[in-house]
Symmetry: C5
């Protein structure tokens, strides 16, 4: 996982320049069009950008979903067809934008961050949306379209809920989906925190530390991106753009609520992760203290004994005095001493293993 994930042009490049990105994201391009009116829903996969022209000219609402890596050429064609602003098109290519909403003359341009877990690793996929009078274009760099549930809702209700409202309701539905995708991610992070916490209180080790650090880093990344997302929704609500209709505001408010809740959860998770680092440090200090204590006790007990033993060299040995080290004259004295020493060593090793020191 890299710290710097922003695509940017060489400084000094003219604004609105469209350059082919490095082929890191080579998901194949696919275009899907969903056209709905009060009468019904029509869906088709597009081969060429121009195929959508005839849908635009009818009074219907048209949702053009473009998945995978878009080439600068395709973007330029789309730009000409829909009269999209150069700066906005540039932002579609340069992934890693802050979520934002920009009002241009002919369309609203929205970038949002779609949070998902990929093998447990957080990814924040940039979704770019153009909203015109009666069309919405949505760019998603993933090969797999995540917005199928929305499409299903359009189909199921035969488009009634969506057709009776403007294209901004579709924008809300997509944003709501993007925002709510944060909940399962946070739930997973919450589970991680609980696991780490119980590890910390039971037997913390080096892996625990690395795991806390990794989690903290992902929380930081997520917060950096989702904080402006909240602002983006807030400014969509405040915006006086005529393309966002007053009757959609109550839905955006709901979406805003969720966004704020996610931020607050993130903040408290970060606080807990920081607090866990302290806990880890305390646990290590505690353990150092424990080892010290054992060493101190054993050493302190034996040091004076060894001194006394040294004083006399234990030259008490005198075969005639039965009180003076008779062990020295016993036949198996020497092997017995070795036996005693082996038993003590084994006992200590067992004890250390049980205390997880060895």
């Amino acid at each position: 996982m890299s710290y710097f994930r922003k695509h940017y042009h060489e400084p000094g490049t003219a604004p609105g320049t469209l350059v082919q990105r490095s082929p890191a994201t080579t998901s194949p391009l696919s275009m899907h069009l969903t056209d709905y009116t009060e009468e019904g829903v029509e869906e088709l996969d597009l081969d060429a950008v121009q195929d959508c022209v005839r849908y635009l000219e009818r009074g219907s609402k048209t949702w053009l979903q473009i998945n995978g890596a878009v080439s600068p050429d395709t973007l330029r064609q789309l730009g000409d067809l829909f009269d999209l602003h150069d700066l906005a098109l540039e932002d579609v290519l340069n992934a890693g934008q802050r979520p934002k909403i920009d009002s241009y003359e002919n369309q609203l341009f929205v970038t949002a961050a779609f949070p998902m877990l990929n093998d447990g690793v957080l990814e924040l996929v940039q979704i770019s949306l153009f909203v015109g009078e009666n069309y919405l274009i949505c760019f998603c760099p993933l090969a797999q379209d995540p917005f199928d549930p929305i499409r299903k809702r359009i189909r199921q209700t035969n488009g009634r809920r969506f057709t009776s409202r403007g294209i901004d309701y579709l924008l809300y539905a997509l944003l709501d989906y993007i925002v709510d995708s944060g909940f399962p991610v946070l739930e997973s992070f919450g589970d991680d925190l609980e696991v780490l916490e119980s590890e910390l209180l039971a037997h913390p080790d080096r892996q625990t530390l690395a795991a806390i650090h990794r989690l903290k880093r992902e929380l930081l990344l997520m917060r950096r991106i989702l904080w402006p997302q909240r602002e983006m929704i807030a400014s969509a609500m405040r915006s006086e753009d005529h393309r966002i209709k007053p009757e959609t505001l109550v839905y955006l408010r709901d979406c805003m609520d969720h966004s704020v809740q996610i931020i607050e959860l993130l903040e408290s998770f970060r606080d807990m992760a920081t607090s866990m680092l302290d806990l880890y440090l305390s646990a290590i200090s505690n353990r150092t203290n424990d080892t010290m204590r054992v060493l101190t006790i054993i050493a302190t007990i034996f040091i004076p004994l060894t001194f006394i033993v040294g004083v006399y060299g234990m030259n008490f040995g005198n075969p005639d005095n039965p009180w003076a080290m008779p062990e020295l004259y016993a036949r198996y004295g020497y092997p017995l001493v070795w036996g005693a020493m082996i038993v003590i060593t084994g006992g200590l090793v067992w004890y250390f293993r049980r205390r997880r020191w060895l």
Copy 2:
């Protein structure tokens, strides 16, 4: 205690969808209606939602209290009867909402968090309130209705205080009750802090650390939920909704005051808990230092002595020289040395026990 406690729909679910929650909260449903006019108070337990219709049509004020787990069906019936907004109904089911106040056309929707201690563990129960022209519906997932004291006040004053004021006064009374319930919780946390502090300064151990961590976590959770509660009351005061009457503002201001005070207490408690973690770390360092010092002193004293003793092997022994280790030739020399060593060992063990090192 889990970190993530929010109920949420599968992302992409249509707004306002009501789905049966997992059966975790299976408190049985009970409905209680309190109807009051200037003339008197009427109370009854409802079996079916429809039973409250006739109370609504009179000019009286009606408080419908619904305790326990509500089924989506019941919610839908209530929604149709009172013309409640779908998004609000969804929030009633999806517990774990941030406290908020939403103005809909036909009603005000308020969610609040009711703090309580369950066996010493903090719980924040979501209370959902709908306020119409002359009715208030209050959802509480607990089996046991916590709002009996309010009902008693309505009864005692024969409803005069409540009837002479609008239904918003009942809203205030409930919110005030919810907010003030924070005080006993904080008082209990304050007591915990004091106990922990005295433990820390006397003889901190691993349990103390875990306890501070747990307390900090609960304070963090409580703050995350109660902070928006303060904002909710503030926006109720600022709101230009005609359902909140100017004469109720002075009461809401009082409630706001308490809410702010709780937040400030929470913040200072969190500061103290953080400071205690530092104190714990210092205490551990102190103890490590103490053990080190004892080891150092004893070892440092005996090391040169043992060296000297080693040098001479103590081969001074010479039966003819009364100054040269006469102990070696004493009859009970050897047992006496053993005796001395046992006494020393016992003394040290006793000393370590007294210092709580063993």
Copy 3:
């Protein structure tokens, strides 16, 4: 010192309920009235609340000071007499309010926190003030009235300074006194910090740590209460209440200045206290390191020597070779070795005592 010091009603109690507090603060009640006009000052001790009626009816300014524990009955009488608001009266009884200013129809209600040191322990006494057209009622739970200097100023100038201005000037004088009482408290805390700092840099011990913790806690408490006090004065200045006259604003600005200065001092004191905890931790680490170093040096020097000595068992003893341990054959060899060992032990004990390790 307890963490939670707020008095509160049982949640669900009706607003404005006056209940006898627990008898913790049983300072006897005393009432003192100061009445002043351009002509002169009149002072008397009141036995009953009603005695002040005749002063109210004249055009004079009347200051009613009530010290000690007020009973709910007395409060209710005062409330009826002066038409005081129920919520305000409740706040007089429930000590531990945040400082605030509330505008009611017939009076301004102000609560302030009077900081004082009681045997070195911070106490924040709640002063409650009602300001009407030409009267001011001041409640102070202390037996001893702290506002004598103000009364003296009224008397000394024969009331001229006070009489030529409205009753709000008296309010200012009292608030100014309350705010300025923070300076000696902070001066004492500043002295404590200096003492602790020099202790820390010289020879920190466990008491130092506890003392820093205690100080930090008191600073935290003081800040929690005095921060809203600043806001209270600010909102008194901004208030459009006709009872605060424009010519008093220049004085309130001065009072505000002092309040801000106290907050800034508090904040920097807290910063220093936190920094001192770090310093303490460093000092402990330093000391551990020192002990370790001594142990390491002595042990490391003697370990190889002891090994060598062990190798030869020092069996060089050979009475015929004058170079081979002649000490063994000296008459007083053995006692001399004991002597040497006792001298070394004594020297080390003396050295450890001097370094304060023993």
Copy 4:
């Protein structure tokens, strides 16, 4: 790298005083003029300030780029020619200004900080810009002009993009270039962070600590300068100065976006760097604990053994008893013991080396 990098006049110097800076930055002066109209672009190197007069008088747009160290004399000549404000000229000489935008009567004065890495060390070069009706003067203390890409864009498009817009578009192009130069710097810092992180988790040493400290310091410096840069662009957007035309605002918004993104990256990098310091501390504590454990285990095992061995002085030796230390009487007993000891020493040294302790 020094902490204090601001050039300032002796306090008390009259405002607008131009004094020769110390010769630290002695890059030679060079002046380059780019003049463009709808018809075409003209470029030339200037020898004397006066040479640009005739370009100013035409209706064309003129960009005067001045690189290297400017003498007070040259500044004064420019000031007279273009009627530049004294305070602004002073700021050109006193490098280390906060980025800001000042509206003077005859020109807009902008200072910006151009971030670059010089052998891995962050430098923030002050760029000063004067924007008049149809001219822009840009001061850059570097010998090498960094703005060649912009000049190329003017040339390439034959100035069309630039000539069709006002001189404020050139200002935007330069600011955009300056802001975007932050991205490669941050990318490099991000790489450093990743390297440090993996070092920390693998085998942290003293160099790692110094490197984290250095990085944190550079991030702090960069943040201190780039934070006001964001404000500067924001106030350029809000400014009602007629020299910034509404059609440029959409471009400045883009530039603002980048600026905010850089700040947010910086903040999260700083958070990570701080968190890494904690990680380092934990790693050290961990390692201390490890060494302690090994010492404890080995010492604790051998201490009782050595005691036992001492007790018997191992005087079992008795040539007649084959069970009593027959090794003592073996011919090569002594050299074999030495051999065993050398093998043990070698083994331990090898073990310590492998654990990187030696």
Copy 5:
């Protein structure tokens, strides 16, 4: 250096009371008057306050500089002469005010903090300024007037720059001087930080810790005072007082810029000082770890060797076996062993000294 440096009246003292301060600052009083018109500059030392009356009555601008300790009597005379407000006069005496600007009817009252280093110790001298229609009175408690450079500028330009502008330009010149005096102080602190940093990375000791603490403390103090100074200048700029003329605003903006820059430097210095404390802690931990490692290695190597040696008591000695400890029978065996031990001790002492452990 004391933590609490505010002079304050006994709480309850009437506002505007002037009391002789304790004689801590007994710099002798001196008064200097600078009077300037378009025609010329006149300067004289005043003996009595009344001597300045005739300058006030002319249309000229008059700057009255009062250095040293002012007695309450002198202040009262000045107050009567210039009609200065009581509260302002009190603030002149009670040093340690927050920088502020107060608009009174007849004059503007400004207090500012003049930062200077006295033997390396930060001092923040309170400068009090009264600005009337055509006079400025400046109080400075230092014996030595710091504002000579300003006076020189008035003289040099023969007062033209100053006379063509109002008295507010003199106010600006003084404030600018006061603010800019922060730069050399910060430069010195920056140097201190660099020295401390290189000490920390090379060989940190107890003095380093105390020095960081002292620096942090001074930075904290400076920030506490200079933060309101920034606000003071900002409110001078916003102020609608007619005594501050619009043409002076551009200069005040410059002064504000410097003030903000100083605050930002202070903040980043504080951040670095805090980070250095962490660095110190890491360095100490590192060192503890190092000592531990050496002890562990040496002890661990010798412990088993000593055990083996103990087992055999090294009773191999057998004069007949040339392989069995022939050293015991060599003539100079014993002195040679002593020699070896002395060499080892010397070597270790030398090694410890080189590593700075001894």
